[in-house]
C-alpha cells in the first residue's frame, strides 16, 4: 500500500492506489486505515429505494464502499447484486466535486458498455445525499487473491488464456466510438476470475474516454506505464499495464515493490525459466518503455498470443505442456574439439600460463614444461627436485614456479636456462604473483615472501603459523592471501607490514580476487567471503555445501567460484546473492576463468566445462581421462588445462 506525502501537509495515506488482496471484489480502490476509520458502513438489512437490501460488506475503498445485496423485486428467486456506495472523505469541495464526477462517469461508462468481461449496471440513484450504483455481482476471486493463494507463479497456460480474454475486452474498450476508452488501471486486483475461469474487468473508476489533454490520474504504481506519469494515457498504456499484470502473475514478483520501469532488467524467463520464450517475448514487447514499440493494438497482441505454442497446443485439443522441465544432463552433451594434447610423465595439477607463444605448466614428474601454444610441441623442460603443483607465472623473459623441493625457480623463457632459485624451508604449493619485478609467493614453511624477480633475493617475508598454499592477489599497495591458519591477510606490499587480518573458521587455500574494494576468497569453512579491502570485515558471505578451495574469478558484476559440493556458483558481486549455479555432480577445486561470456573450469569427474556466464547453461564439456584440478588458461580461442591423466590439453574455446 503506497503512502503519499503531500507537500505542505502531514504525510498521509494514499487512498487511491494499490489494493488489499481479496477484499475488493467490485473494484473499489484499496481500503486504507485512515479511510476505514471515517467510513460509514451500512448494516445488513438496510433497504435502498425500497428494493435493494444490504446483506454484507464486500470491500471498502478510498471513495466507495461495496456491499453484497439483493434485488427484492424478484420475489421467487434470489437475485444478488453489488451495491457500490460513494462517500466523500476529502475535506475540500473541489476534490469532492471531482470524486462525484468520476463516480458518475464510471456509472455512465458502464451503462453504455456491453461485454461479457465487463460488469452490467442495473441502476444508478441518489438517496439520503449519497450516490449508489447497482452492479452485477461477480462470483469468483480477483487475480491478486488467486496469486496470493498460489504462493508462487501461476501456470503459463491458464495465464495465457486470461491474457487473450483481457486483450479481447481491452480491444472492445479501445474500439469504442467516437473516442476509445482507456481503462488506465489494469492490475491483478482489478481482474476477477469466475469459477469457470472467465475473466471480468472491474473498477472503471478512472477509465475514461480518450481525451488528448494532460491529466494527472496515474493508475497504480508498478503497473502503470511511464507516459501515464506525464498525464498521457493511450490504448498502448493499457497494454503496458497488461504486460505488467501478466509479468506479475507468471513470476509472482510484485512490481509495486520493485523499482518502477525495470521489467527489462527482470526478464520473465530469468525469474521463471519454465515460461516459454514465445510467450515471454509477447509480454515483454507489451512492456516496452516506448509506447511506439509496444504492440500497436490489443488485437495485435491477442493474435500474437494465439500464435504462441502455449495456446496453439491447447487450441488443437492437445494438452499443452505445463511448463518444460529442465533437460536432464545427459552424457551426450555437446563437446568441443581437441586442438592438441601433450602428455607428461605424471599428474598435471598445476595450471598453465600462456606467454611468448608458449604454454608453461608444472607437472608432478618434477618438470616445468614449455610447450608450443599453437601445435602442442615440446620446447623445453626444467627438472626441479620435487613435483610441481604450483602454477607458473611469466615476468619479462623469465618464468617462475614453486616446487615440492621447497624452492622457487626462475627459468629463462626461450630455452629454460635457470636464472635463479630461492629456497624456502618447505614445499612451495602457492603460485607466484608478480608486480613489476617483485614476486609474491607463500610456502609450506609458513612464510609469505616478496622476492626480487631480477636476482631471486628476498625483499621481505612475513611469518604465519601454518602452511601458505593460497596465492596472492595484489591491489593498490596491499597484497592479500589466505593462510592455513584460517586467516586472510592484507600486507603492506612495500614491507610486509600487516594491514589487517581477518579470520575465517577453517584454512584458506583459495586465492583471493579483488573487485569493487572487496577481497573475495573461499575458505574450508564452506564460505565464499567478500571482505572490505580497507579493514577486512566481511561485506558479505555466501555459504556453499562444502570446502571452497577453488579461487574466485570476477567478471562483470559477478564472481564465479567452484565448490567441493560440486557446484560452480555465479554470485552477484554487489550483494552476495546467487545468480545461478551449475551442478557438475563431482568436486570442483579447479578455479574458473571467464572469457567472452563463457566460464571454463575443470571438475573431479574428469571433465572440462564451458558454461554460459549469463545463465549457467552448459555450452560444452570435454572429458579427459583423469580428474581436473588444474585451472584453465584461455588465449586466442583456445583453452589450456591440465588433467591428472598426465596430459595438458588444448581445447577449442
Amino acid at each position: 500500500m503506497a503512502l503519499i506525502k503531500k507537500p505542505g501537509t502531514t504525510k498521509g495515506i494514499d487512498l487511491n492506489s494499490s489494493s488489499n488482496a481479496g477484499s475488493d471484489p467490485q473494484g473499489t480502490a484499496a481500503p486504507g486505515a485512515g479511510g476505514r476509520a471515517a467510513t460509514p458502513v451500512m448494516q445488513p438489512g438496510v433497504i435502498l429505494q425500497g428494493r435493494y437490501v444490504i446483506e454484507g460488506t464486500l470491500g471498502i475503498g478510498g471513495m466507495s464502499v461495496v456491499y453484497r445485496g439483493r434485488d427484492l423485486r424478484f420475489k421467487d428467486v434470489v437475485r444478488p447484486c453489488a451495491i457500490k456506495e460513494m462517500y466523500q472523505s476529502a475535506p475540500d469541495s473541489n476534490t469532492r466535486l471531482l470524486n462525484l464526477k468520476n463516480f458518475e462517469r464510471e456509472a455512465g461508462l458502464l451503462a453504455t458498455l456491453q461485454h461479457p468481461a465487463i460488469p452490467k449496471v442495473f441502476d444508478f440513484f441518489e438517496e439520503n445525499g449519497r450516490v449508489y450504483l447497482i452492479l452485477e455481482l461477480i462470483q469468483g476471486k480477483d487475480l491478486e487473491t488467486v496469486l496470493d493463494e498460489a504462493k508462487g507463479p501461476l501456470p503459463e497456460e491458464r495465464v495465457a488464456h486470461w491474457a487473450v480474454q483481457l486483450c479481447e475486452v481491452l480491444s472492445y474498450l479501445h474500439n469504442q466510438k467516437p473516442e476509445p476508452i482507456v481503462f488506465r488501471d489494469m492490475k491483478p486486483s482489478n481482474v476477477m476470475v469466475t469459477p469457470d475461469d472467465r475473466i471480468i474487468l472491474i473498477d472503471f473508476g478512472i477509465a475514461r474516454s480518450l481525451v488528448r489533454t494532460r491529466g494527472t490520474v496515474i493508475g497504480t504504481e508498478g503497473y502503470s506505464p511511464p507516459e501515464q506519469y506525464k498525464g498521457i494515457a493511450e490504448p498502448q498504456s493499457d497494454l503496458y499495464a497488461l504486460g505488467a499484470t501478466l509479468h506479475h502473475l507468471l513470476t509472482a514478483s510484485d512490481p509495486r515493490t520493485e523499482t518502477p520501469f525495470t521489467f527489462h532488467e527482470r526478464p520473465l524467463r530469468q525469474l521463471n525459466p519454465q515460461i516459454s520464450p514465445e510467450l515471454a517475448a509477447v509480454i515483454e514487447k507489451a512492456l516496452s518503455y516506448d509506447m511506439t514499440t509496444r504492440w500497436a493494438s490489443a488485437d495485435e497482441m491477442r493474435l500474437a498470443l494465439l500464435q504462441t505454442p502455449t495456446l496453439r497446443g491447447s487450441q488443437s485439443g492437445g494438452t499443452a505442456p505445463a511448463g518444460k522441465a529442465a533437460l536432464p544432463r545427459s552424457s551426450n552433451a555437446p563437446t568441443t574439439d581437441l586442438v592438441w594434447r601433450f602428455v607428461c610423465e605424471d599428474e598435471v595439477r598445476s595450471s598453465p600460463c600462456v606467454s611468448h607463444g608458449m604454454v608453461f605448466v608444472g607437472c608432478y614428474d618434477t618438470n616445468l614444461y614449455a610447450v608450443d601454444a599453437g601445435r602442442g610441441e615440446f620446447r623445453w623442460k626444467y627438472a626441479t627436485e620435487g613435483g610441481i603443483s604450483s602454477s607458473p607465472a611469466v615476468w619479462n623473459d623469465i618464468v617462475v614456479v614453486g616446487s615440492e623441493d621447497g624452492a622457487v625457480y626462475a627459468c629463462e623463457v626461450r630455452r629454460g636456462a635457470l636464472r635463479w632459485t630461492f629456497r624456502t624451508g618447505k614445499p612451495v604449493r602457492s603460485s607466484p604473483r608478480i608486480l613489476e619485478r617483485v614476486i609474491f609467493i607463500g610456502s609450506d614453511d609458513q612464510h609469505f615472501y616478496a622476492i626480487d624477480g631480477l636476482r631471486g633475493s628476498q625483499i621481505w617475508k612475513y611469518r604465519t603459523w601454518m602452511p601458505i598454499r593460497s596465492s596472492a592477489c595484489i591491489a593498490g599497495e596491499s597484497v592479500y592471501f589466505g593462510g592455513g591458519d584460517g586467516f586472510v591477510y592484507a600486507l603492506n606490499i612495500k614491507n610486509g607490514g600487516v594491514r589487517w587480518k581477518q579470520r575465517t573458521q577453517q584454512p584458506v587455500i583459495s586465492s583471493p580476487a579483488f573487485a569493487e574494494n572487496m577481497v573475495i576468497v573461499g575458505s574450508m569453512d564452506n564460505m565464499l567471503y567478500a571482505l572490505d579491502s580497507e579493514g577486512g570485515w566481511p561485506v558479505w558471505k555466501y555459504r556453499t555445501g562444502h570446502y571452497v578451495n577453488s579461487s574466485p574469478f570476477v567478471f562483470g558484476t559477478r564472481v564465479f567460484v567452484g565448490s567441493v559440493d560440486g557446484n560452480l556458483y555465479a554470485i552477484e558481486l554487489k550483494n552476495g546473492k546467487l545468480a545461478w549455479k551449475y551442478d557438475t555432480g563431482s568436486q570442483i577445486t579447479s578455479s574458473p576463468r571467464v572469457e567472452q561470456g563463457r566460464v571454463y573450469f575443470g571438475a573431479a569427474d574428469g571433465c572440462v566445462y564451458c558454461i554460459d556466464a549469463a545463465n549457467g547453461s552448459l555450452i560444452w564439456r570435454y572429458e579427459t581421462q583423469g580428474p581436473v584440478v588444474s585451472s584453465p588458461a584461455i588465449s586466442d580461442g583456445v583453452v589450456y588445462i591440465g588433467s591428472l591423466d598426465h596430459a595438458l590439453y588444448a581445447l577449442r574455446a
Binding site: K5, T10, W420, E534
Partner: protein, 326 residues
C-alpha cells in the same frame, strides 16, 4: 580467539618509513594498482639480503607490524526540526560512535540512522522511532558487542539489510495489531574502519562529500525520482508532480521489504550527510555542499542546514546527521 591463533608477532617499526619513496605517485591507475619504483626495490633488496638463493633462517625478526593509519577522527552532529508547517515531528534520528579494539590497530565504528515516518494518528512518529530503535538494537547486539570483544565475523551487508528488515517486520506487526497503517523511510549508515555500509529504503538520502563535490549515495524509492534518473522527467516538472513524494518502497507497509545496500569506502571523503526530504527538498545540492564545506563545526553546520530549509518554507519535518570524517 582460539588456540590455533599464532602468538602475537613482535611489533617492530618498518625499517623504511619514508613510504612515498617506494612508489611513483604518478600513474595512479583506475584499478588501484600503481607501478613499483624499481630503484627503491633494488635498494631495499640490497639492504635486506645480499645472499642470493639461500634459504632464510626461520627467524621472526623480519616480520613486522604495520603502524596503522590513525582511525578517522570522527565527529557527528544530528538535528531534527518540526519545520514551519507540520504540527507533528514524524522524523527520528540516532547516532553512535565507538572505537573498537583490533589486533592491528583500533578502528572506529559509527552508526547513523534517519527515519522519516508517515501515517496518521501518530503512526508516523511510532514507525520512525521503531525503525531507528530496531536498527540500533540489532547493530549493537550483533556487531558492536562482538567487535568490542574483538570478533567480527558477521556479514556487514546482511547485518544492515536484516536490521532494516527487522524494523519492517516490527512496524508491520505493530500496525496489524492496532489496525492502523504506518510506514517510514529508513537510511542507516554503518561506518566501520574506512568503509560505509548503508541500508536504505525510501527517500531519505545519504550524501558523501569529498574534495570533488557532493555525491548522492542512495537512490530515492519514488517513481518520480526514477523517471528523473532515467531522464524522462526534468526536475523542474517533477517539483509540481502530484506524486512527487509517493514512495514505492517503505519500511513497515508490507510483510517483506527489499533493502538497498550501498558499500562505499570513504576514500578521500570529508563528510557524510544523511538528510530527510524536508532538508534536501528545500535546497540544492550545491547549497548543502557550501554550508558543509564552509562551516568547520558539524554542530554549527547542521544547524545552518536546518535553518536554510526553514527559511525556504520548512514545509516538512527536517532531519539531518552530519558526520565529519577527517
Amino acid at each position: 580467539m582460539s588456540e590455533a591463533m599464532p602468538p602475537e608477532q613482535p611489533s617492530e617499526p618498518a625499517p623504511d618509513q619514508s613510504g612515498s619513496a617506494w612508489w611513483s605517485e604518478a600513474g595512479d591507475e583506475s584499478d588501484g594498482t600503481r607501478p613499483l619504483d624499481t630503484r627503491a626495490v633494488i635498494a631495499q633488496a640490497d639492504m635486506h639480503d645480499r645472499r642470493r638463493g639461500e634459504t632464510e633462517p626461520l627467524d621472526d625478526d623480519t616480520t613486522r607490524r604495520e603502524t596503522p593509519p590513525p582511525p578517522p577522527a570522527i565527529t557527528a552532529a544530528a538535528m531534527r526540526h518540526i519545520g514551519q508547517v507540520r504540527d507533528t515531528n514524524q522524523d527520528a534520528i540516532y547516532t553512535l560512535i565507538s572505537s573498537i579494539p583490533r589486533e592491528t590497530g583500533d578502528a572506529t565504528l559509527g552508526l547513523f540512522v534517519v527515519a522519516d515516518g508517515m501515517g496518521g494518528h501518530e503512526g508516523g512518529e511510532i514507525a520512525s522511532r521503531m525503525a531507528t530503535a530496531a536498527v540500533a538494537r540489532r547493530v549493537i547486539a550483533d556487531l558492536l558487542v562482538p567487535a568490542i570483544e574483538g570478533n567480527v565475523n558477521v556479514s556487514l551487508q546482511a547485518l544492515m539489510v536484516e536490521a532494516v528488515q527487522e524494523a519492517n517486520r516490527a512496524i508491520w506487526e505493530h500496525a496489524r495489531q492496532i489496525g492502523s497503517d504506518m510506514g517510514t523511510t529508513c537510511t542507516a549508515a554503518l561506518l566501520l574502519g574506512r568503509s560505509l555500509y548503508i541500508g536504505h529504503v525510501g527517500d531519505t538520502r545519504a550524501y558523501l562529500i569529498d574534495p570533488g563535490g557532493i555525491h548522492q549515495l542512495t537512490t530515492d524509492h519514488s517513481a518520480v525520482g526514477r523517471l528523473i534518473e532515467m531522464g524522462q522527467l526534468d526536475p523542474g516538472e517533477a517539483r509540481d508532480h502530484p506524486l512527487r513524494s509517493q514512495l514505492y518502497r517503505t519500511v513497515g507497509q508490507h510483510p517483506e521489504v527489499a533493502v538497498d545496500l550501498v558499500f562505499q569506502p570513504i576514500g578521500s571523503a570529508t563528510h557524510l550527510l544523511i538528510a530527510s526530504d524536508g532538508l534536501w527538498g528545500c535546497m540544492t545540492d550545491e547549497a548543502m555542499l557550501n554550508i558543509v564545506q564552509g562551516i568547520d563545526s558539524p554542530q554549527r553546520a547542521v544547524r545552518a542546514l536546518v535553518d536554510a530549509a526553514n527559511r525556504a518554507g520548512g514545509p516538512d519535518n527536517i532531519s539531518a546527521i552530519l558526520v565529519r570524517l577527517v
